[in-house]
Each structure stands twice: as structure tokens, then as C-alpha cells.
């Protein structure tokens, strides 16, 4: 689960990680109030959306006066912010973070993440802060410090020193940095983060370190033990159809193409999307109804896919293992009768109880196109659009 910068900074404050003074604003008036409360200029006005690259997209501005703060708030609130992470359609900005400007000596990079390869928590840091870190890692990997922490023993003093000295911080800033990093590690573990990134972490002119930005992702599988973090979920930042699908435990992602697809199992769903593309069409979604899907889940999956106006044909690909083909067929028939089908539906089923499933579909009187195997299914759906 992604959370906003202002929410991440609330967590930072709770865990003793220094951040600039500031507050969230949902209107221009509120933004001006926060700016006034800070008592000094410049202030920074930052768009709050679940995507990076906001500065380049015009979503972050430095205001030298109250009048400027008001003007920038007015400009950014309600704008459709396009960054390299939002896609061409961009995101509507509905909230702002207004913060006190800082006297920056140096911009650094700091992150914590779960490393698959070593099954540890890895701290990454670099003196090349404020930049696209992937590019730094690709072109000058020697400028990235990586320190692995064993999750069974947790963070130790030497980890802090390796990173602190590695960043060539002035002696006066080292103690503050060590405390910051130790607290970040605690925050990461206590909240089941999957990623925590600060870019930039700043060194101020008076040798303090402070998180100027904050990006935190929470492991969705762990939310059951962090009920309070659920308040951070922002439905506004999610696709409405994806929100609807999540209510029924359906794994759904809306994409740009015109061939809808319903598949059981994530791997098979990805492969089915690829097959659609191979056949010369474009998938409109990823939809995994799961290995243990019920007829009701299938019905909802069908309904959600047909709500998407881009969809001109649907390919249903089911390999019945746990999910029996007859159960699945009942779900399809129920949904089709309730919703009414106006577009071509290609069905390919295989596995447990496949004959019974095919009989249910055939007896339904629905206008379905049967496919014998995957190749046949892809060709038929491409021909149907």
C-alpha cells in the first residue's frame, strides 16, 4: 500500500526522524493558514499524489511570501499533474503539503528496502541526493553505499557508522544521522514497510540532517497487524474499477487495451495477456480470480470487466485445479444473464470437471465462442474485435 508524503512524515515524527515543520492542506485557504503558522518565508508548496517526479512536473514550488504561497496553492490544487510515474493521463491534485523552507548544505539519498536476494533489510545511501537514483546506480554504482542488516539481530552501531562515514558527513552531523537511521530502521520494521525512501535527505548549513521528502510503501499482506495504518489508504489515488474489484478479493489492474480477460492464477493471467498481445490485440486488464474463486467472485469479475467501456471483447481462460470448471461456468452464466452480453466472449476451459463446465455453458443458450486451446483462443478473440 502506498501512502502520501505527508502521512509518511507523520510516521517519521512519531519515530523521531527529523522533518521540516509543516502541515497538509485541502484548500487554498488552509494552505495559506499553514504558511502563516510557519511564521517565516520561504515555504514549500508540494502536491500530494501517489507518484514520484512531482517537482519536474510542476507540482512543487518555493514561495517567498504569503501572496506567492496563495498563488502556488491555487495553481497546484486541482491541476492534473503528469510525471514519469503517473502515465500520460496524470493525477488530479487534491491535497498539498506546505512546509518551512530549509537552508540546504548538501542533498543526500537514503533508503531501506527488503532485498530478495539476500533475504535481509538493505540500507542504500548516496551523496548523489536529489537525483534519479536508478540512473546513479546504473552509471556510477560506486557512488551507492549498500549495507545489509540481518533481520534476526537487527541494526547495530557498525551499520550506522558504515553508512554515516560512507556519506562523508561532517563530524558534527554524525550523531544526529546515526539516531535518524536507527529510528528509520525501527519505523521500517515496526510498520512492515516494503520500501522507505528519502530523496533528498538534507544536511543543513548548521550540520543537522533532515528528511526533506518521504516515500513509504507498506506491505499489504501485513496490514492485518497495523489497523491504524489503514486510515492512510487514499481511495482517490486508486482506479475506481480496481477499488471495486478489491472489495471482492479480485486481483485486477486496469490497462489500456480493448480485450478484457478473466483468468485464474496470476502467472497464467500474465501469460494470457501476453498471448492476446501476440495475436495482435491489446489486453484491457489483468484479472486474476484466484485459485479458490467462487461463482460469486466470477460473477463480480465479469461485471467489473464489462463496466470498462474500452472492452470490445472478452477472453476467459480457466485452468481448473482447485477452481472447478463447472463452478466457474455457473458463475459466468449467472453474470451473463444478469448483465446481458453485447460483445463477443471467447471461452477456453481446461482441467477439473471441464466436460460438466462445457455442458453448462452450451445449455445456457448464451452466445459464447468456444476455444479448444490457448492458440485457438487468442486467434478467436483477436478476430472478434
Amino acid at each position: 500500500m502506498k501512502i502520501h508524503e505527508y502521512q509518511a512524515k507523520e510516521l517519521f515524527r512519531t519515530f523521531g526522524v527529523p522533518v521540516p515543520d509543516g502541515g497538509v492542506a485541502f484548500s487554498v485557504e488552509e494552505a495559506v493558514d499553514v504558511a502563516k503558522g510557519l511564521g517565516a518565508y520561504p515555504v514549500v508548496v508540494k502536491a500530494q499524489i501517489h507518484a514520484g517526479g512531482r517537482g519536474k512536473g510542476g507540482g512543487v514550488k518555493l514561495a517567498a511570501s504569503e501572496a506567492e504561497a496563495k498563488a502556488f496553492a491555487d495553481e497546484i490544487l486541482g491541476m492534473t499533474l503528469v510525471t514519469h510515474q503517473t502515465g500520460p493521463e496524470g493525477r488530479l491534485v487534491k491535497k498539498l503539503l506546505v512546509e518551512a523552507g530549509q537552508e540546504i548544505e548538501k542533498e543526500l539519498y537514503l533508503s531501506l528496502l527488503v532485498d530478495r536476494a539476500t533475504a535481509g533489510i538493505v540500507i542504500m545511501a548516496s551523496q548523489e541526493g536529489g537525483m534519479d537514483i536508478e540512473e546513479v546506480a546504473a552509471t556510477t554504482p560506486e557512488k551507492i553505499i549498500k549495507v545489509r542488516v540481518d533481520p534476526l539481530t537487527g541494526i547495530q552501531g557498525y551499520h550506522l557508522r558504515e553508512v554515516g562515514y560512507g556519506l562523508e558527513l561532517p563530524t558534527a552531523a554524525l550523531r544526529g544521522f546515526s539516531t535518524l537511521l536507527k529510528n528509520l530502521y525501527t519505523l521500517f520494521v515496526k510498520n512492515d514497510c516494503s520500501l522507505l525512501e528519502i530523496n533528498p535527505l538534507i544536511l543543513t548549513k548548521d550540520d543537522r540532517v533532515m528528511a526533506l521528502d518521504a516515500k513509504v510503501d507498506i506491505d499489504s499482506n501485513a496490514l492485518y497487524r497495523h489497523r491504524s495504518l489503514l486510515d492512510f489508504r487514499d481511495i482517490d489515488e486508486e482506479d475506481p474499477l480496481e477499488v471495486e474489484a478489491s472489495k471482492f478479493n479480485l486481483n485486477y489492474i486496469n490497462l489500456d487495451g480493448n480485450v478484457g480477460n478473466i483468468v485464474n492464477g496470476a502467472g497464467l493471467a500474465m501469460a494470457t495477456m501476453d498471448i492476446i498481445k501476440n495475436a495482435g490485440a491489446e489486453p484491457a486488464n489483468f484479472m486474476d480470480v484466484g485459485g479458490g474463486a467462487t461463482a460469486e467472485m466470477v460473477e463480480n469479475a465479469f461485471r467489473i470487466i464489462l463496466m470498462d467501456e474500452k472492452v470490445k471483447a472478452v477472453l476467459i481462460n480457466i485452468f481448473g485445479g482447485i477452481l472447478r470448471c463447472d463452478v466457474f461456468a455457473q458463475g459466468v452464466v449467472a453474470a451473463a444473464k444478469k448483465i446481458g452480453i453485447t460483445i463477443p466472449i471467447v471461452v477456453r476451459m481446461e482441467g477439473t470437471n471441464v466436460e460438466a463446465g462445457k455442458e453448462i455453458l452450451a445449455a445456457s443458450g448464451l452466445n459464447l465462442i468456444n476455444a479448444v486451446d490457448l492458440k485457438d483462443a487468442a486467434a478467436k478473440v483477436a478476430a472478434a474485435i
Partner: protein, 289 residues
């Protein structure tokens, strides 16, 4: 021959009295797996069908000599269940459970590094040696016993699709393993490749990967250096957009890493025959094996 499981395997099922646990235990028994015990805390002394249920894995192992475990315990308690099995001397642990927090798995993985047991999964369909032993949730009857092909995959139904195509073309399997779709798991591609290489009955290997992480790239390099048997590869998710998690917790393209294209290039460069269309993977295998 086969790898990891065979007729000698004695299985204990953790979470045997739950809905999923019961259903799949029965399916495994029906297939011929020797299920010797079940574990559900608080239900020790009962039976599930004819299988004795114990409160702890240790007592189950002591009483029945179980040497493998299949786990259906819900995600909040699953890390505990895996470590319990490992600490009780079980040699092979197959965790079916989906949705274990990654920080739990990170701890489990480091804990297991001090043990000699093997973990398959979590979030996986399990392992089957056709005709001998099925530990997991895969449909048994799509498999064809006797080899000559070994199958490794990160996903469930995608593996069934591949196996089904092989069987329909008369190509049998020695052992099929789903290693699971989570970012941190137990057994990886390389462990299985090594075992297949050492199994005389396995004459060829099918490796089914997907986007995310770098496991396929590392496996490809390993194959070039250590595997003499022909390998057919497939990668799911070539059309997946970056930054979106495609169902599996590990299936996400982040930045420039984990793309399908990079994986395919790595596989081809290392001598693996890559199948570009899932609909034809059976035919490609027929050609290669």
C-alpha cells in the same frame, strides 16, 4: 527417479482440520501420498478421516516418523508453523499459504539458514512426483508419470497449463515443482536445477518464470555453467506495465529491473530455448526433448 519426494515420503499436514487443509489432504491421499499425521493445536488426539491429529509437529514426528510437511496455516501464523516444522526435524517443508508478510519470511529464511531442511514456497502449488507422491494443490491427473522432463515454475495454474500440454503430447514428468510467487521464498530455481541435473531420469528441464526480481537471470547463468541437460524456458508478463504488482507479491517491474525482455535475453544468451507463446510450449518441448 525423481527429486525431493517419492514413495518413501511420509507427510504431516499442518492445518489439517481447516477447510483447505482437509480438502487437499484428501486429494493427496487419493493420489497415493502417504499422509501419516496432521497438526492442529488444540485438536490433538482427534483424527481427520483416518489420519491422527497432533497438537505439535514435534509430537507428530516422534509418533509417526513424518519426514515432510505440507502447510495450510493462515498467513499470520505461517512463519511460526514453518519454523516449528524446521525445528522438529522435518526434512522437506512445503508452504502453500498465500499472503505471508515479507518481513516474516525474511526472518524465516535467515532462521532456516541454520537448519538442514528444505522449504518450498510459500504461496506455491507444491511438488509432485507423478505416480508416487503429491504434496500440494495441483490437479493430480493432468500429470504423466515416468519422466523424462522436470518442471520448475514460479506460479500455479501456469504450471498446470504447461504440464497439461506436455502430457497431451505424451511427454511425462519426473517431478514438477512450483517454487512460489513471493519475493522471499525457500527453494529457488538454482536449487531445483541442480537437483534435476543430478537426477539420472530427468533428461530435460522446463523452467517457467515471470517478471520481477532477478531469479531467472541468475538461473540462466547457472544453467550455462552447470547444467548439461536441455532447458526450455518461458517468461510470463511481457506486456505488464512497470510499477504494477501483477497478483504475485514478487511480480513487479521496478525501475529497469525485472522486465520480461531482460529475462528472455539472459536465457537465450545462456543457451536456453525460450518459448515466446504459452500456447506452443508443448510443441517446443516435443522438438527439444
Amino acid at each position: 527417479m525423481s527429486i525431493f519426494v517419492n514413495k518413501e515420503t511420509r507427510l504431516v499436514v499442518q492445518g489439517i482440520t481447516g477447510k483447505e487443509g482437509q480438502f487437499h489432504t484428501r486429494q493427496c491421499i487419493e493420489y497415493g501420498t502417504n499422509v501419516v499425521a496432521g497438526v492442529t493445536p488444540g485438536k490433538g488426539g482427534q483424527t481427520m478421516d483416518d489420519v491422527p491429529v497432533f497438537n505439535t509437529v514435534r509430537s507428530a514426528v516422534e509418533a509417526t516418523g513424518a519426514n515432510a510437511s505440507m502447510i495450510f496455516v493462515p498467513p499470520p501464523f505461517c512463519a511460526d508453523a514453518i519454523m516449528e516444522a524446521a525445528d522438529s526435524g522435518v526434512e522437506l517443508i512445503v508452504a502453500i499459504t498465500e499472503g505471508i508478510p515479507v518481513l516474516d519470511m525474511v526472518k524465516v529464511k535467515n532462521f532456516l539458514a541454520t537448519k538442514t531442511c528444505r522449504l518450498i514456497g510459500p504461496n506455491c502449488p507444491g511438488i509432485i512426483t507423478p505416480g508416487e507422491c503429491k504434496i500440494g494443490i495441483m490437479p493430480g491427473k493432468i500429470h504423466l508419470k515416468g519422466g523424462p522432463v522436470g518442471v520448475i515454475s514460479r506460479s500455479g495454474t501456469l504450471t498446470y497449463e504447461v504440464v497439461d500440454q506436455l502430457t497431451k503430447l505424451g511427454i511425462g514428468q519426473t517431478t514438477c515443482i512450483g517454487i512460489g510467487g513471493d519475493p522471499v521464498n525457500g527453494t529457488n530455481f538454482i536449487d531445483v536445477l541442480e537437483a534435476f541435473e543430478n537426477d539420472p531420469d530427468t533428461k530435460g528441464i522446463v523452467m517457467v518464470g515471470e517478471i520481477g526480481g532477478s531469479a531467472e537471470e541468475e538461473a540462466a547463468a547457472y544453467i550455462k555453467a552447470h547444467v548439461t541437460k536441455p532447458v526450455v524456458g518461458f517468461i510470463a508478463g511481457l506486456t505488464a506495465p512497470p510499477g504494477r504488482r501483477m497478483g504475485h507479491a514478487g511480480a513487479i517491474i521496478s525501475g529497469s529491473s525485472g522486465t520480461g525482455q531482460a529475462k528472455i535475453e539472459a536465457m537465450e544468451k545462456n543457451g536456453i530455448r525460450v518459448c515466446m507463446n504459452l500456447g506452443t510450449i508443448g510443441e517446443v518441448c516435443k522438438e527439444v526433448f
